[in-house]
């Protein structure tokens, strides 16, 4: 039976390895035919900022991999709007993630909708 699995990102990239680990785990999980989605809230929204250039600090820009998520069977990306606003950011500051058919994979949503979505999962893994 396929399970509804959510990967929750709550940390900024680069300062810790959590974000990169979350992506690795998500891509590994994508090989097992589950219903996967990924959520970004709190400091996790920083992972989606445009124009990251970690090469200056000799690190890999894994934010580029988000654009390939649909290839790995992950076609739902949820972002909590309150987390964006608290950080002085707006929707346009975030990278675009499109599905192969061109549709937008990113849903930016209010906390209450994020809450409902989380409540509907079978498995939640937080990073």
């Amino acid at each position: 039976m396929s399970k509804r699995m959510m990967f929750v990102n709550r940390r900024a990239p680069y300062g810790t390895v959590y974000g990169l680990e979350a992506l690795d785990a998500l891509l590994a999980a994508s090989a097992f035919d589950q219903q996967l989605c990924v959520a970004f809230l709190d400091d996790g929204v920083y992972q989606l900022l445009r124009n990251q250039n970690p090469a200056v600090l000799d690190m890999k820009d894994y934010s580029r991999t988000f654009a390939a998520l649909d290839d790995f069977g992950v076609d739902k990306v949820y972002v909590e709007r309150e987390s964006i606003l608290q950080r002085g950011l707006c929707d346009a500051d975030l990278i675009e993630i499109r599905r192969e058919n061109g549709s937008d994979a990113v849903s930016i949503m209010a906390s209450e909708d994020m809450s409902r979505l989380m409540e509907s999962q079978d498995i939640i893994l937080q990073f």
């Binding site: 680069y14 709190d42 900022l49 200056v56 600090l57 934010s63 002085g88």
Partner: protein
């Protein structure tokens, strides 16, 4: 004294403690994940704006660039420094207090 802060407010309240305890006239340098706190409109930026008269505020350029944060997104009164600037600040202030 030079104070450095390296975490976001969500990760740790170090910035709060630093702003509460850093002496008047001391320099505060945001590095690593703490550079996000300088983004205009953020919770961290509101705290920093209140302390602008009391401290000189700096943010480390390579950490901004790494994270995709542009100087234009920062609150006024933050000076962006490179590594040489970091060293110069450390030399000018004979004590560096790293808030972890």
């Amino acid at each position: 004294m030079l104070h450095t802060v390296n975490k976001t407010l969500t990760e740790k309240p170090s910035l709060l403690s630093c702003l509460r305890l850093a002496g008047a006239g001391s320099d505060i340098l945001l590095i690593e994940d703490a550079v996000y706190s300088a983004i205009r409109g953020s919770t961290g930026a509101r705290l920093l704006e209140q302390s602008r008269g009391k401290h000189q505020l700096f943010a480390l350029g390579p950490d901004l660039e790494c994270r995709g944060v542009k100087a234009a997104q920062l609150i006024d009164g933050i000076e962006v420094v490179d590594y040489a600037g970091f060293v110069a600040l450390a030399v000018k202030n004979d004590t560096v207090h790293a808030w972890l």
